[in-house]
């Protein structure tokens, strides 16, 4: 080991305890800890959770079928709030879907070793969240079978998409993000699938894991290209993850509606996305590590670091809320001013103050180390943040629309039963996929965690 590496290891010790992997941290134990989950029957809680998730997913299926059979009139969207529930949910889920790639790619580039414990987990969460997000734009067109119009596919209408529309940028941004996240996630999975293949005792498991492990043997010449490809994908995914929510914010910011037409939107949305994404990772990691015996791999230190990120991004978001009001006043534009007064004190004041309470005030508790390391507190706070971030999208979308330029058309938006069933149902889809992932795939990146142990490093100078 070079002197530089020793120095950095020592520095790490000084700044923070090194316990990224706790307990008996030899290679076989790591393999065993993670693989055991996929190889044995899950705890009862898993079955209960899965049954509930499947039930809620069924409700989503019925809501969507009813919507498609009937038309988007079954939703509460109507003038002046023509953009309502679906885009709120879309932006919410896309935001959730930011943590995974951020942890995998950005933290990888910054050489943050602590990412290895949670990256697999949050990447999976990202992919499932983006699937939930993609559902809403797809079904909101009503006639879902013509959704192919948004892609540049030669067609008998001789028509092409309008590339100057931010809605189309969104299509490209979200589908690219999904594709790249999926590739990144699957690539990371391959060596671990090979581990599961080599450990499996039955033919069917060996066959299934084997097919998806692509015949990985861990040859170093393959590791070499693999590592390089991983770095390249991380480098590509980093600007991508920052761009996705910027582009989503363009849906609003490029329009000319007071409350939407703001240059602060892209950074504000990205900060909000990281904020909500990390909160969702904490919400999921806390029960999962307890349930599946992963406490040694997803340690309290991991959770504390995430809580720090949550507090920092929460304050960024708070700053953006304040800055919006400042700009509304400072611009002297009375329409802009009205939009924000309406937001905070209008018919949706309740939503606005829920948002501020959950997103700005609650995370302040993380100034205290005890709170950052307290499992019950972080679980509650992360759920508050999830709620707050959903309301942020609701506030932005609905309060900017419900009182438009023509007072006679002012109206109060109320979601219908189908709206609720779709929102709740999307959680069913998310948790169904997530629980299946927990059951059958390695929840922690085995090979990557191994690189963080002393066993992966040479101890003799050569």
């Amino acid at each position: 080991m070079s002197n530089g590496e020793i120095a950095s290891a020592e520095l790490d010790n000084i700044i923070d305890p090194p316990a990224l992997v706790q307990g008996k941290a030899d290679l076989a134990t790591i393999t065993e800890t993670v693989s055991r989950v996929a190889e044995h029957k899950p705890p009862k809680a898993w079955y209960i959770g899965f049954a509930m998730a499947l039930g809620v997913l069924g409700m989503l299926g019925m809501a969507v079928l009813y919507l498609i059979a009937t038309g988007v009139g079954v939703w509460g969207n109507n003038q002046p709030v023509a953009w309502g529930w679906p885009i709120v949910n879309f932006v919410f889920w896309v935001g959730i879907g930011h943590a995974g790639t951020l942890i995998s790619a950005v933290l990888y580039l910054f050489r943050q070793g602590w990412r290895t414990g949670i990256n697999r987990f949050s990447e999976a969460m990202t992919i499932f969240a983006v699937i939930c997000a993609g559902l809403f734009p797809a079904i909101h067109v009503g006639r879902i079978w013509v959704i192919y119009w948004v892609f540049p596919i030669p067609n008998q209408m001789a028509m092409w998409p309008q590339f100057r529309s931010p809605l189309l940028w969104d299509v490209f941004a979200v589908s690219t993000y999904f594709t790249v996240s999926l590739l990144f996630w699957y690539m990371g999975l391959v060596p671990d699938l090979a581990t599961l293949r080599d450990r499996s005792k039955t033919k069917i498991r060996r066959l299934m894991y084997g097919i998806f492990a692509l015949g990985w043997t861990g040859a170093n010449r393959q590791w070499h290209r693999y590592e390089r490809a991983y770095l390249l994908l991380a480098a590509l995914a980093t600007p991508l993850v920052l761009s996705v929510h910027s582009v989503v914010s363009f849906d609003f910011a490029v329009s000319q509606l007071p409350g939407w037409h703001t240059t602060i939107f892209p950074p504000y949305f990205v900060a909000g996305a990281i904020f909500s994404g990390f909160a969702m990772v904490v919400t999921l990691a806390v029960p999962a590590r307890a349930l599946f015996g992963l406490r040694d791999l997803i340690t309290l230190r991991h959770l504390e670091l995430m809580n720090k990120v949550i507090m920092a991004t929460g304050m960024l978001v708070g700053y953006a809320y304040a800055m919006e009001f400042f700009m509304a006043w400072y611009s002297g534009n009375k329409y802009e001013g009205f939009a924000f007064v309406n937001r905070a004190f209008g018919p949706y004041a309740w939503a606005y103050w829920i948002m501020v309470t959950c997103n700005v005030i609650t995370p302040q508790i993380y100034w205290f180390k005890k709170a950052r390391r307290s499992i019950p507190i972080m679980f509650v706070v992360s759920i508050f943040v999830n709620i707050g971030m959903w309301f942020e999208r609701f506030v932005i979308t609905v309060t900017s629309l419900n009182r438009d330029f023509l007072p006679s058309s002012w109206n109060y938006f109320s979601p219908t039963v189908i709206d609720w069933a779709t929102l709740i149902g999307s959680f069913g889809l998310f948790f169904t996929l997530f629980l299946l992932f927990c059951r059958f795939l390695p929840q922690v990146a085995i090979a990557e965690v191994k690189t963080q142990t002393p066993h992966a490093h040479s101890h003799s100078a050569h």
Binding site: P154, N155, Q156, M157, A158, M159, K201, K203, R206, L207, G210, G215
Partner: protein, 225 residues
């Protein structure tokens, strides 16, 4: 313990994977390009009509002008299917219509039945645009677009069939480049017309565009109104 091993022949079929990976998109593209094309789905529609009316005899052999029967084509959006009275001009029996051609023909029995007060003849529509597409016949035939451009050589058809896709892209082809589809107004129902002086249709069409002030629109609300 004999664990399952991937057999050696999986090495041999690896090229198949490549073929599938490259071939599947090509196959799917071909399938949808040709399968979903109106040339497959719509062109060639040739329904049996209640009376075996032959356009080849009437419009072709007898040289009757299209507008003798479809007399609203140049003043209305809809090119009318003629009333039975028009048929009876030649195929009547002296009492309900005056001509007596093929008075005894079995094939004309439904016509006489309808004329005597039965149900109207249910002609089967061959060229049917989607209801959200607005099309005006008079706007076209009065600007030099002949029947043949959309309906083909009806004067040679024993049974009328659809020969053009009638798709939006096909409409736009002409709206973007109308010149080669124009002809002088006095030749509008002459389905076999070709420029006599050896000039190309493109050339003649350019002149006619000027003369008839032809500037087809391409915006959505032209047809979807």
């Amino acid at each position: 313990m004999s664990l399952y091993q991937f057999p050696r022949w999986t090495d041999v079929i690896r090229p198949l994977l490549g073929v599938t990976a490259l071939g599947a998109p090509v196959y799917l593209v071909l399938l949808f390009y040709y399968g979903a094309s109106p040339n497959t789905l719509a062109v060639g529609y040739e329904p049996t009509q209640p009376v075996p009316f032959s356009h080849a005899v009437h419009a072709g052999e007898l040289g009757m002008d299209c507008r003798y029967c479809h007399n609203t084509v140049d003043k209305a959006a809809h090119a009318a299917i003629p009333p039975i009275a028009t048929c009876l001009n030649c195929h009547g029996d002296g009492e309900i219509g005056k001509g007596r051609i093929h008075l005894e023909s079995e094939k004309l029995a439904p016509l006489r039945e309808a004329a005597e007060g039965g149900e109207p003849l249910a002609w089967v529509r061959v060229h049917d645009l989607a209801d959200y597409a607005y099309f005006n016949h008079s706007a076209h035939v009065n600007k030099g677009v002949s029947c043949v451009e959309c309906h083909g050589r009806v004067d040679q058809m024993e049974v009328v069939r659809q020969v053009e896709p009638l798709s939006m892209g096909w409409c736009l082809d002409c709206h973007r480049d109308p010149a080669p589809r124009l002809r002088p107004l006095d030749q509008i129902t002459n389905l076999g017309w070709a420029p006599e002086d050896g000039r190309s249709r493109e050339e003649v069409g350019r002149e006619l565009m000027e003369k008839y002030n032809v500037h087809p629109k391409q915006d959505c609300s032209t047809c979807h109104r």
